[in-house]
Structure formats: structure tokens, C-alpha cells
Symmetry: C2
Subunit: 142 residues, 2 copies
């Protein structure tokens, strides 16, 4: 009888401890998942559309973007890729075939990482497009 009580009590204690451990680790993971992009610098590369211009999304997604991302190191928080689609408004051509964007913590670090690799980056354009992209830098407000 006494040993049964001790056994039950031990089970209860283990259960309580395990339960509180689980809660603690959830709080940590929830905090990480709520990190925002606000304040980051976004470097956007836009590929304008016009007649005769082409864009190979598969190469861009599997080769070019990972190559450039590799130059950026820990300054890079994430990168995104969009494919232009018709906007449904008649007689309005596609403004851009594709847009890539790098979200970084520091613009000057971004520039310093890109500079020695600029020739390689530009040489790679020909592997997926025949248009010169437009570059834009912005700050994420929301």
C-alpha cells in the first residue's frame, strides 16, 4: 500500500515536470517564430518584360539565386522569388517577368559581399535571361 502511494506520487511528479518542460520549450519556439521582417533592408532585383524578352525561372530558382545567396553569408535573413502573371486588366502588359529579393540586416555588408563577385553574377545573367534587371533598395516598414 505504502509503495503504491510512493509509486503514484512519483508518476505524478514526473508528469508535472515533463509538462512544465514542454511549456517552456514551446515559449522559446513561439518567440523565434514571431520574428518580423520590419527594419530589414530589402534588395530587389526586377526583370522587366517587353516583347522578345525571356526568363528561365527554373535556372533562376535552382542555380542563380542560391549562388548569390551563398555570397551573402549571415547578413542574409531570407530571399524570395516571384513570377509575374497577367493582372487581368485588358491591354496592360506584364511589368516584370520575375522579381528576386534579398532581405539583409546591413546594406553596406551586402554591397561588400557582392562587389568581388559582380562579374560572376553578371556573367550568369545570360544563363536565364536576355534583359538587364532593375535594382531597388528599400526598408521593410511592415
Amino acid at each position: 500500500m505504502k509503495s503504491k502511494l510512493i509509486l503514484l506520487f512519483s508518476l505524478l511528479t514526473i508528469c508535472t515536470v515533463a509538462f512544465s518542460q514542454e511549456k517552456k520549450s514551446d515559449k522559446i519556439s513561439k518567440h523565434n517564430m514571431s520574428v518580423t521582417d520590419k527594419g530589414l533592408i530589402k534588395v530587389t532585383i526586377m526583370y522587366p518584360y517587353s516583347e522578345g524578352k525571356t526568363f528561365n525561372m527554373e535556372y533562376y530558382e535552382t542555380k542563380h539565386m542560391p549562388m548569390v545567396a551563398g555570397y551573402l553569408g549571415a547578413n542574409l535573413v531570407k530571399y524570395t522569388i516571384e513570377k509575374g502573371v497577367p493582372n487581368g486588366i485588358p491591354n496592360q502588359p506584364l511589368p516584370y517577368m520575375a522579381i528576386g529579393a534579398f532581405y539583409v540586416k546591413s546594406l553596406s555588408e551586402y554591397q561588400a559581399a557582392i562587389a568581388p563577385n559582380l562579374d560572376a553574377i553578371r556573367a550568369d545573367f545570360a544563363n536565364y535571361t536576355n534583359v538587364i534587371p532593375v535594382l531597388m533598395v528599400s526598408e521593410v516598414v511592415q
Copy 2:
């Protein structure tokens, strides 16, 4: 003695049930937090810069974007706002003063939600800018 055993056993059962409930709800919330933007439709509104053009970011962020977001309902997954900043390349003007973007599940639902409110949206432009924005639709690849 017997009642103490019953009490302890009840506590243990309650503990176990609560623990498994917590785990189940964590799985649900973790699934939500790991959802990607891939496949979403992104409607981007870009405000081009040129001499004499202005943009009131505070109004845009606190009034205009929430107003339009309100029209979109559950189709809207999230929206973002960026502020154009100089790109560091000499003699290259800012392409855009600001860019807003809505990430939605369905383009046709977006268009259907905007259509009855188009006049109100356009009338609101004058409250924060003197430029007509450029609209672009894209699909999120990554």
C-alpha cells in the same frame, strides 16, 4: 488510505489528459507557423519616384493599407509595406518611393473584393501621394 489512492489516481489522469491536450494544440499552432508563402498570389502596388512626387508613409501605413486590407477578408494572408531608400549607386534615382503588397489565396476573389470599393480606394490616393501607382500581379515561387 483508499480515498488518497483514488485522489492521486484522479490527479494523474487529469495531468495526463491535460498534457496530451497541450501537445495536440501545439501541433496545430506549429503547423500554422510553418506555412509558406509559396503558391500565393501577390498583388504589388508600386509608387514610382520622380521629381516633385511625394509620399506620406505614415498615412499609408496607418490608414490606407488597413482600409484596403479590410475589404479583402479571409482571402488576405498578409500584407507588406516597403519604403524606397537610395541604393548607393551614384546617379541612379530611386525607382519607387514605396511599395505595398497583398498576399492572397485567390486573384479573382481579390478582384471581386476590390471592384465595389475602387472609387473609395482611388479617392484615398490624394491623402498620401500625388503619383498614380503601378500594379503588378505575381505568383510566389519561393
